[in-house]
Symmetry: C2
Subunit: 260 residues, 2 copies
DNA sequence: AGAAAGGTTCCACTATTCGGAACAACGTTT
DNA sequence: AAACGTTGTTCCGAATAGTGGAACCTTTCT
């Protein structure tokens, strides 16, 4: 999920929460015990605290799940996020111009967290993706974001990446990634050519705040079969335009207060 | 937001997070200091820890915002919630049958947390509502849920409510609420007649798990002007049917493992 | 019934947090 | 320009809250 050395009481608690959150299936006490590197008594109390705070819940079979409290917090996170609010009209425009799914994601460590998404058709379930995390090096938004980093930061970040292959097209080494990022910087667009998921391609463009605090990207995604070279290159331009518009609005609106 | 006595280190940290989350506008250090009842040094460290864990972020003007980490956790909360998954096909059916906005919410203290929502038209922004919290006593889902509580629990909960008026129709005392709940139990449906927001009405039905662990509700919402008595009563029936279907599926699917 | 695994409670020890106070960095006033 | 008030950050002894080993229940298997 994310780094954060589990230092301090809070850190340890969050580490446990993270274990439960990232598990692919419900964990029981002993399962967590195996994954967390802690004595039984200690872990038991930590979990009890988390339950007390509503961050996790116990299912009837004694397995743990994530608590509603997290949803409440996230709802406010999303609603109060200034960057998302600024970007929203622009990604909507982008969606209307292309008719395809568009994403807004920000860089968070070596991952990208999706802040917003407008789906091509289905008027439902898009929720499922907001807050989702995906590796930066094999997504359009992620690579676009990486290209917006200053070189030292970029190299430091890439050094942290543990490359995993998702499809035959996934980039799996730092050199290739670096040269691709060089290309992105030249052209102004990043592409995902079925690198994260087979059959899915996208065009993206980088977004960054003036002070470099916020590194993000916008993208247009579509199934590979539907993409023609003409569309792809026209999308490239309007994606860059959307990114530019977002940056412009940020410069205007974020000068006095707030940020992402 | 929610109860949770801020006991223990974790509790205090979450209390601070809560302050930042519930604030209507970005808080700076001193603002938080005023709201939290803690010495400066202590608060400072707590905030530093929260930042370290990615739960809050500092904006450039030194005000605090909620961190992306919360979105990540919530995304997983939502995706892994078994109750939501079970209810989903049924609320979708309900949406298709009525063409109106439908909600799925669970009772959490004296509030209702919305777990899912399908909007009538707009294929966007529904996100904003998931994880949202609303008072139980003046929403359809909330009153439906209350009606599913055992009497002692109900009375205990109502005793905790601090009634606030949102519209001229809002119920503002326990007696009225109790008699309305009696009616809901007789009829099987709860109604919100512009009690939370003017111009908005809804029909709801209670959902509870066999063991009473999970108290929830489903509802159909529509603008008051669009509602005719005929529609309203036909919706009442199919809303009850949806609730019944959800309960049936819960009984089946939750017997061996998991829950909400 | 017996054994093992899973889960919970206890309590002396100690590492962490607490919180007052001193310090630094601005901005504002006299 | 010197003094002051605000806001945010750092320190450190004292005390509290978390730690973790071990004993203790409870459930599940053999």
């Amino acid at each position: 999920m994310a780094p954060a050395r589990d230092t301090g009481t809070l850190g340890k608690a969050i580490a446990v929460l993270d274990i439960i959150a990232t598990a692919s299936e419900p964990l029981r006490f002993t399962d967590v015990l195996r994954l967390a590197d802690q004595p039984r008594g200690t872990l038991h109390r930590q979990i009890a605290n988390l339950i007390e705070e509503g961050l996790i819940t116990v299912n009837r079979d004694q397995s743990y799940g994530l608590g509603l409290r997290l949803l409440q917090f996230a709802s406010r996170t999303w609603a109060s996020n200034a960057f998302r609010a600024i970007a929203e009209p622009h990604i909507r425009t982008l969606h209307e111009a292309t008719g395809e799914t568009v994403h807004l994601g920000v860089l968070h460590g070596t991952d990208v967290v999706y802040l917003d998404k407008i789906e091509s058709r289905q008027n439902i379930r898009l929720v499922s993706q907001i807050g989702n995390t995906a590796p930066a090096w094999c997504t359009g938004v992620g690579k676009a974001a990486l290209s917006a980093l200053a070189d030292p930061d970029l190299r430091a970040l890439i050094a942290e990446i543990r490359f995993t292959r998702f499809t035959p097209h996934t980039i799996t080494d730092a050199r290739t990634l670096l040269s691709e990022i060089a290309a992105i910087r030249r052209e102004g667009n990043a592409y995902d050519r079925e690198e994260h998921e087979l059959g899915i391609c996208c065009v993206a463009a980088p977004v960054r705040s003036a002070d470099g605090q916020l590194i993000a990207g916008v993208s247009v995604t579509a199934p590979a079969y539907r993409i023609t070279p003409e569309f792809f290159s026209s999308w490239a331009a309007i994606t860059r335009a959307a990114a530019a518009a977002i940056m412009r609005d940020m410069a205007i609106q974020l000068s006095p207060r707030r940020s992402a």
